[in-house]
C-alpha cells in the first residue's frame, strides 16, 4: 500500500466507526527527539488516526506564536531531514502503527532535493508531506515526485480560496485535503468562523479525497461541533502548548487530552 493510501485508509477507518479521524500535530525535536518519540506513542495509544509531524524551519510564516516557539526549541538541536527520516524509519522498525506525514516549509525540501526526498521518504516509511508555502502554481515538481513514490501530497485550501480554484486544488491533493478553518495563522482560538460547517460541507462535495479541517481547533467542544462536517480534524497548537508547559513529562498529559478529543470526534 502507498503512503497516500495508508493515510486515506486510516481516516476512512475512523469514519467507519462513526467518528471524525483525529490528526494531532507536533513539532519534531520539541523539546528533544526522545520526548517526540514518547509523544508519538502516546498519540497512538490515545486513538489518533494520522500524525502530522513538523520539521522545524527558521522562518515559519504560516505559524502563530505557539508553534514559532516550538520551532525555536527544536532548532537548537540543528536537525536535518536526514535525521528526520532516520527517526521515522526507526519508529516503523518498532512497528509504530500510525501513518506519519511531515509538515514543513519548502526550502529544506528544495535544498535536500525533491526527487531524493521522495525516494528516501518512501524508504523510511513516511507517508506524505504538507508544505504550507507551496501553493498549486508552484507545486508541480513536488506533485510529480510524490506521485511517483506514492506519497500523500496534502494540499491546503483556505476561506479565501474561490470555488473554482478549490476544485482544482482538490483534484491534485492526495491522502486528504486540508481545509484551513480561519483566514490567518496557526494557533488556538476561542471562536471559529460561524460559516465553517457550511464551508466544509461545500468543500466535501467537490473533494475526491477526505477533508481535514485545521488551524485554531483546541477544545473538545470544537471537535464535537466539527465532527459531522469533516472526515478529519487537525489539532496542533493546543498540544504544543502542553509540550511547552510540561517538557519531557508531556506524553501522559497529551495522551489524556487526545483521548478526550478522540471521544469528542464521535458523530453522535
Amino acid at each position: 500500500m502507498t503512503g497516500a493510501e495508508k493515510v486515506r485508509q486510516a481516516i476512512e477507518e475512523a469514519n467507519r466507526k462513526a467518528r471524525a479521524a483525529l490528526i494531532p500535530y507536533l513539532c519534531a525535536w520539541d523539546p528533544d527527539l526522545e520526548t517526540t518519540r514518547a509523544l508519538l506513542w502516546a498519540l497512538a495509544e490515545a486513538g489518533a488516526s494520522v500524525v502530522e509531524l513538523g520539521f522545524p524551519f527558521s522562518d515559519p510564516l504560516a505559524d502563530g506564536p505557539t508553534i514559532q516557539a516550538a520551532t525555536q526549541r527544536a532548532l537548537r538541536h540543528q536537525p536535518s531531514l536526514e535525521d528526520f527520516l532516520e527517526f521515522v524509519a526507526g519508529l516503523y522498525a518498532e512497528d509504530y502503527p500510525l501513518p506519519i506525514v511531515v509538515m514543513g516549509y519548502y526550502n529544506p525540501f528544495f535544498r535536500f532535493g525533491l526527487k531524493r526526498f521522495a525516494r528516501e521518504a518512501r524508504e523510511a516509511g513516511l507517508c506524505g508531506a504538507i508544505i504550507p508555502d507551496l501553493p498549486l502554481e508552484e507545486a508541480r515538481p513536488w506533485l510529480r515526485e510524490a506521485r511517483r513514490r506514492g506519497l500523500a501530497s496534502v494540499m491546503l485550501v483556505a476561506p479565501t480560496t474561490p470555488a473554482e480554484r478549490l476544485e482544482r486544488i482538490a483534484q491534485v491533493s492526495t491522502g486528504f485535503l486540508y481545509y484551513v478553518s480561519v483566514t490567518g495563522i496557526t494557533g488556538a482560538r476561542d471562536r471559529l468562523p460561524e460559516d465553517l460547517a457550511l464551508r466544509l460541507d461545500l468543500c466535501r462535495e467537490v473533494s475526491p479525497v477526505p477533508v481535514a479541517v485545521g488551524f485554531g481547533i483546541a477544545r473538545p467542544e470544537q471537535v464535537k461541533m466539527l465532527a459531522p462536517h469533516a472526515e478529519a480534524i487537525v489539532v496542533g497548537s493546543a498540544l504544543v502548548k502542553i509540550v511547552e508547559a510540561e517538557g519531557s513529562r508531556a506524553p501522559e498529559k497529551v495522551k489524556r487530552f487526545v483521548k478526550d478529543l478522540v471521544s469528542a470526534a464521535e458523530r453522535s
Partner: protein
C-alpha cells in the same frame, strides 16, 4: 517582458506563500496592471513625486571625488539622498500607498529593518490619511530607536517582533502573518524588490523612475550612455530602479554591490548573490544565505539597510544570465568611502550607498580614462552619523 505570467524571472521569483494569500496576490496584480495604464493614477503619482518627494533628483558630477580617485573618470551621483525622508524608499511607498488607496484598503502594514522603509511608509500613510502598522525586529527597535520615534510621530504604530533573530527577516515574517490574517482590509507595502509576485515587479516599476531620469540626464550632460552604473544591493530596490531602464543598453555595465560585512569568510556578512545559494524565502525563489539543511542564516552589515539574507529574484536572474555583475565590499571599505565622499563632496552618504561608492574607489585605478560612471546615491547619512561615531571611537556599530 519579465516576469512571466507565473511571476518568474527565469527560475527565480514566483509565489511561495500560504494559500490564503493567493487570491489577494492575484487581486493585487490585477489592480496594479489596470492602474499602471490609468493616466489618472500615473498623473497622481507623478504629482506627489514632484511636489512632495522632490523629483527629479539631480545627476551630479562629482568632480572632487573624481580628482581624489586620479582625475581620469567622469563620475556622476544620482542624488536620491535629496528626496523627502532621505532615501529612494519614498518612490516606492508613495506608489504602493496610492495603489492601496485606489484598491479601497484603509489599513497599511509594512516591515522595516533599519527603519528607513518604515519611516517612508508611515510618511506616505500620513500624507494620504491611512492607518499604518510597522513591524520591526525587537533588536532593531533598540538599535534604531530614533526611527521608531519618527514613525510614531508620523502616526504609525510600531510593533516589535520578538521571534527568530528579531531582525528584518523576522519582521517580514510577522508582516506576512498579519497580512494572512487581515487580508481583506489590509495592504502590505513591501520595502524592496522582494516577496511573492507581483511585488518584485511593482517595486521595480515604482523605483525605475531613478533609472529613467538618470538615463535622460546623462544623455543630456554627456551625449552618450554611461559605461557603468553602480548601486548597493540589500533587497535590491535602488539597484533595480536604476538598472532597469539600462538593461537593454548592453554597452552599459551594471554592478550591484553587496555588503561583505566583516568578511566573506566570517559568516558576518550580507553578500547573498556573491556567496549565497538558491532557495525559497518570503514567497520567492532566489539566492539566500542558508546553511546546509536550508535554514536561513542571519545577515550582517554595518549598513542596517543591507542586512538581509535574501535578495530580489530579478537580481538573481540578472546574475545568472550575466547581464549584471555582483560584488561585495566590507564594513571598513564602506566606512572609508563614507568619509571620502563627506570630505570631497560635502555629501554624507547613507552607509548603504557608501558601499556603491566604495566599490568605485576599489576599481577606479583599473578603469580607462573618461569612463563615465553613474553611482546611485540611494540615501543620506544623517541616520548613520551616531553609529559611525561609535564605531570610529572603538565601540561596535
Amino acid at each position: 517582458m519579465l516576469p512571466n505570467k507565473q511571476g518568474k524571472f527565469g527560475p527565480f521569483g514566483g509565489r511561495f506563500v500560504p494559500e490564503t494569500l493567493m487570491p489577494a496576490l492575484a487581486e493585487l496584480e490585477e489592480a496594479y496592471r489596470r492602474l499602471k495604464r490609468d493616466s489618472g493614477f500615473r498623473r497622481e503619482l507623478a504629482w506627489y513625486l514632484r511636489e512632495y518627494a522632490g523629483r527629479p533628483t539631480p545627476l551630479y558630477p562629482a568632480r572632487r571625488l573624481s580628482e581624489a580617485l586620479g582625475g581620469h573618470l567622469r563620475i556622476y551621483l544620482k542624488r536620491e539622498d535629496l528626496l523627502h525622508t532621505g532615501a529612494h524608499k519614498i518612490n516606492n511607498t508613495l506608489g504602493q500607498v496610492l495603489l492601496a488607496r485606489r484598491m479601497g484598503k484603509r489599513r497599511i502594514i509594512a516591515e522595516t529593518g533599519a527603519g528607513q522603509h518604515g519611516v517612508a511608509t508611515a510618511t506616505a500613510a500620513a500624507l494620504l490619511g491611512l492607518e499604518c502598522v510597522v513591524y520591526m525586529g525587537a533588536k532593531d527597535t533598540v538599535r534604531q530607536a530614533m526611527n521608531v520615534f519618527r514613525m510614531e510621530l508620523l502616526g504609525a504604530k510600531v510593533i516589535p517582533v520578538e521571534s527568530g533573530t528579531q531582525t528584518l527577516k523576522d519582521a517580514i515574517n510577522e508582516a506576512i502573518r498579519d497580512w494572512v490574517t487581515n487580508v481583506e482590509t489590509t495592504f502590505y507595502v513591501i520595502g524592496s524588490v522582494v516577496g511573492p509576485h507581483p511585488y518584485p515587479m511593482i517595486v521595480r516599476d515604482f523605483q525605475s523612475v531613478i533609472g529613467r531620469e538618470a538615463r535622460r540626464q546623462i544623455l543630456k550632460l554627456e551625449g552618450r550612455l554611461p559605461d557603468m552604473v553602480i548601486a548597493c544591493v540589500g533587497g535590491g530596490s535602488n539597484a533595480m530602479g536604476i538598472f532597469y531602464p539600462f538593461v537593454r543598453d548592453q554597452v552599459v555595465k551594471l554592478v550591484g554591490v553587496e555588503a561583505a560585512g566583516q568578511g566573506l569568510e566570517s559568516d558576518r556578512h550580507s553578500a547573498t548573490l556573491t556567496v549565497g545559494e538558491p532557495g525559497v524565502l518570503h514567497g520567492m525563489m532566489t539566492y539566500l544565505l542558508q546553511d546546509r539543511v536550508g535554514q536561513i542564516k542571519g545577515a550582517h552589515s554595518i549598513a542596517p539597510g543591507l542586512d538581509y539574507p535574501g535578495v530580489g529574484p530579478e537580481h538573481a536572474f540578472l546574475k545568472e544570465c550575466g547581464r549584471a555583475e555582483y560584488v561585495a565590499v566590507d564594513d571598513e571599505e564602506a566606512l572609508s568611502a563614507f568619509r571620502l565622499l563627506s570630505e570631497t563632496e560635502g555629501i554624507i552618504p547613507a552607509l548603504e550607498s557608501a558601499h556603491a561608492v566604495a566599490y568605485l574607489v576599489k576599481i577606479a585605478d583599473r578603469l580607462p580614462r573618461d569612463t563615465i560612471v553613474v553611482v546611485n546615491l540611494s540615501g543620506r547619512g544623517d541616520k548613520d552619523v551616531a553609529a559611525v561615531r561609535d564605531y570610529l571611537s572603538g565601540k561596535t556599530a
